[in-house]
Amino acid sequence: MPVTGTVPTKSWGGIVRGNIPGGDGAPIGGGGPLMPTGQLFVWLLIAGVTMFFAALSSAAIVRIGVDGRSLSLPGIVWANTLVLLASSGVLGILQWRVRRQRELDRRGQLLLWATLLLGVGFLGGQLAAWAELARRGVFLPSFPAASFFYVLTAAHGLHLLGGLLALALLIAVRKRLLVFRRRLGPVALYWHFLTLVWLGLLGILQWR
């Protein structure tokens, strides 16, 4: 018998679902969402933030290259980088544990706090790097490589501050396991992304 009146569930991007206002949307049969709404939101945010840093770093590459003077980076930024990598690593372990155990035990909570504290430590370290430059007499307007060091670290730091806020909110909901698990993915995604951004910026600042 010929079949008519079907509703496609998986044509190109053919995700079909219903939704409730303000919520994640309850699938009403057939397909599912492209990805959880929070996750999609963060991916889109990442796209926009990537363009922001791409614009800033292209400007840095051109401007520092034309100027020719380079900045010897304060030693502490390397330690900061390790701290940030550690925070991402700790968060990764937490994600792995939550996926496996489907709960947030005491050790998991410790990992969550550790991520936050390492993040704060990174920001503190970046401020220390600024202080070291200032001691050397290198300020924002000194020369392009210095200007971009300040601008790029500030821009990254402000984005990281947003990430810290998200982590703090995650800690606030740690007792509500369902909510916690739904939010962990998007928050971690953003956090890992900022670690990657920092590695890229560091590369530009060191080798440009």
């Binding site: 018998m1 010929p2 079949v3 008519t4 009146g5 079907t6 509703v7 496609p8 569930t9 998986k10 044509s11 190109w12 991007g13 053919g14 995700i15 079909v16 679902r17 219903g18 939704n19 409730i20 206002p21 303000g22 949307g25 309850a26 009403i28 049969g29 057939g30 969402p33 492209l34 990805m35 709404t37 999609l40 939101f41 889109l44 945010l45 796209a47 926009g48 933030v49 363009m51 922001f52 840093f53 791409a54 614009a55 800033l56 400007a59 051109v62 401007r63 034309v66 100027d67 924002l140 307007p141 392009p144 200007s147 601008v151 821009a155």
Partner: protein, 634 residues
């Protein structure tokens, strides 16, 4: 037949409609209210921008002549009855800024995006209603900051809407470079934050909240266009944000990103090595996608209205979608054509020429598809249709001169002349604005539950259509004569042909008349809001989802259950159908479809239970249109 079909599936909704005035109309999270807030605010910004253009047209047509009325109305801008040169520059800057960002971007994405995306996707609201509300209020803040700059010391920013340094970077360059420019930059930064919040919402809603049965390739072209425009905004505005941050640092903290050792007002600037071209690249990396942010939604609106009023499916739906995507992609790699005369490697300019000319291909494809849709249609000339057809006309006129200007050999001659003003005003100020008018005439009944007056609408169209051509077409001639753009006064330049001034007078008069004709539209809106005929749910006999909801739709849009979609949005005049339109919510066993890949499907006696089972069914049943058409056709 046209009754909306709703899912039998399980959607239990807690529709808490806010009852207090503040939560319902002011701090509303309902996308329809936010859409109206955006349209009203953007409309006001548009009116202010229009008045600014009038002020500029006075000295251009009658240089040095005293105009006491204008001077009385705007005492801060006039001296001895004549518009001051610095006020002219400020008006020029603010006119461009207001029209491009605060009127067109806001009304398309904030207004029509908010109104149409959830409705045409069969959603109850945006994915993040709170962020949506925040987006509007942040937008309003940016409007206030921008308008406040008119009243500060030195007046509003005067470096052009492109804010090129050093005019925008040196605080003492011109009066507007002082506080006005700072407010301009802050306002733009806030505006960008608002746009990103809106864009994240629009994209997420389209990707995640489409109703059952509504695959991407069944979306109305309006949603496709708004979706791609939102993606463009999300990816291009951050570049301007980055540029604006660096500009603020140059202005206030002594950096040398764009500034170098130049002399300003007899003083040496203590900066070194900066390059204003850096700003131009960052600016135009946004600036060019931005013009597509303004034209794509107008294209989507025109497609929808032309198909509806020609009573024909849109010609080449899939190709239309691919063209929108192609235009979206190409818009990111053409920005250099704004900088041919800024000093650019000749090979680089050749590359930008190539990409610029390539973008004409998908644009032409769309134009031919509109003509194909109109061809032998049963045309219904509603005001919306007139504006949609007017959009096609002006898009062709303005697009063709774009091909001229895409070639550096011609652009170098014409770039700083009125030819460019003619080109972008016929595309932006006319085509895009026609998209806005078409959209408002078409969806007014859905927004407010009232019909607009058709005779007034037609009068408005003809005056505007002829008026816009009268204003902007002669500017091409001025450009060829070598009349420079952006200048306050050039009446005494010896090389200009004597009739150039006559053309300026003609243009100014046309501008005043056409601008005044917009009062007809405003009157029509106000009159229709109170005394317009009550609109039924589907006054245009249209197919898309929003017309299956009441006019205006209630909070949550769809009552208890969400609509289910069985077909694309362009089932007009399908052979064998009982009417000349079949709403998207009508199952295929009730009416045939003309959806691409399903041609020939005619009503058959398929048990509805089977259809519903298919509704939740497998990929195989759905992937190719279930073979229904082919099975039936053969």
């Amino acid at each position: 037949m046209a009754t909306p079909h709703v899912a039998t599936a399980e959607v239990a909704h807690a529709q808490h409609e806010p009852t207090s005035f503040w939560r319902r109309y002011i701090f509303s999270m309902d996308h329809k209210v936010i859409a109206i807030q955006y349209i009203i605010t953007a409309g006001l910004m548009g009116i202010i921008g229009l008045v600014m253009s009038w002020l500029m047209r006075i000295p251009l047509a009658w240089p040095g002549e005293s105009v006491p009325i204008a001077a009385k109305l705007f005492p801060g801008l006039f001296e001895g009855g004549v518009l001051r040169p610095d006020a002219y520059l400020a008006m020029m800057t603010m006119h461009g800024t207001l029209m491009i960002f605060f009127f067109l971007t806001a009304i398309f994405l904030g207004g029509f995006g908010n109104l149409l995306i959830p409705l045409q996707c069969g959603a109850r609201d945006m994915a993040f209603p709170f962020v949506n509300m925040l987006s509007y209020w942040v937008f309003l803040l940016s409007c206030i900051l921008m308008l406040a700059s008119l009243f500060v010391t030195g007046g509003a920013a005067a470096a052009g809407w492109t804010a090129y340094p050093p005019l925008s970077a040196v605080r003492t360059a011109v009066p507007g470079s002082y506080l006005g420019q700072t407010l301009w930059l802050l306002s733009m930064a806030v505006f960008i934050v608002s746009s990103v919040m809106g864009g994240l919402n629009y994209i997420t809603t389209v990707l995640n909240l489409r109703t059952k049965g509504l695959s991407m390739m069944r979306l109305p072209l309006t949603v496709w266009a708004l979706f791609v425009a939102a993606v463009l905004g999300l990816l291009s505005f951050p570049a301007l944000f980055a540029g604006a941050v660096l500009l603020l640092l140059d202005r206030h903290l002594g950096t040398s990103f764009y500034l170098t050792h130049i002399v300003v007002g007899g003083e040496h600037l203590a900066r070194e090595g900066g390059n204003p071209l850096l700003w131009q690249h960052l600016f135009w990396f946004l600036g060019h996608p931005e013009v597509y942010i303004l034209i794509l939604p107008a294209m989507g609106i025109a497609s929808e209205i032309i198909s509806n009023n020609a009573r024909k499916p849109i010609f080449g739906y899939r190709v239309m979608v691919y063209s929108i995507l192609a235009i979206g992609f190409l818009s990111f790699i053409v920005w250099g054509h704004h900088m041919f005369i800024s000093g650019m490697n000749i090979w680089l300019s050749a590359a930008f020429t190539l990409t610029t000319l390539i973008i004409a291909v998908p644009s032409a494809v769309k134009t031919f598809n509109w003509l194909g849709t109109l061809w032998r249609g049963k045309l219904r000339f509603t005001p919306a249709m007139l504006f949609a057809v007017g959009f096609v006309s002006t898009f062709v006129t303005g697009g063709l001169t774009g091909i001229f200007l895409g070639n550096p050999t011609i652009d170098i001659q014409l770039h700083d002349t009125y030819f460019v003003v003619a080109h972008f005003h016929i595309v932006m100020a006319t085509s895009s604005v026609f998209g806005v008018f078409a959209g408002i005439y078409h969806w007014f009944p859905k927004m407010f539950g009232r019909m607009m007056d058709e005779r007034l609408g037609k009068l408005h169209f003809w005056l505007t259509f002829l008026g816009m051509y009268a204003i902007f077409f002669p500017m091409h001639y001025l450009g060829f004569m070598g009349v420079p753009r952006r200048y306050y006064g050039f009446g005494a330049l010896q090389y200009l042909a004597p009739d150039a001034q006559g053309i300026q007078v003609f243009i100014s008069i046309a501008a005043f008349v056409t601008g005044a004709a917009q009062l007809i539209f405003l009157y029509n809106v106000v009159r229709s809001l109170w005394w317009g005929k009550r609109a039924e749910a589907n006054p245009w006999q249209a197919t898309a989802l929003e017309w299956q909801a009441p006019s205006p739709p209630p909070h949550g849009n769809w009552g208890e259950q969400l609509p289910v979609v069985y077909r694309w949005a362009y089932d007009y005049s399908v052979p064998g159908a009982s009417q000349d339109f079949v709403p998207q919510t009508v199952p295929l066993e009730q009416e045939p479809t003309g959806e691409p890949g399903r041609h020939g499907a005619i009503p058959i006696a398929a048990p509805s239970a089977a259809a519903h089972a298919g509704g939740n069914g497998t990929d195989g049943a759905s992937g190719d249109g279930a073979g229904n058409g082919r099975t039936q056709g053969t």
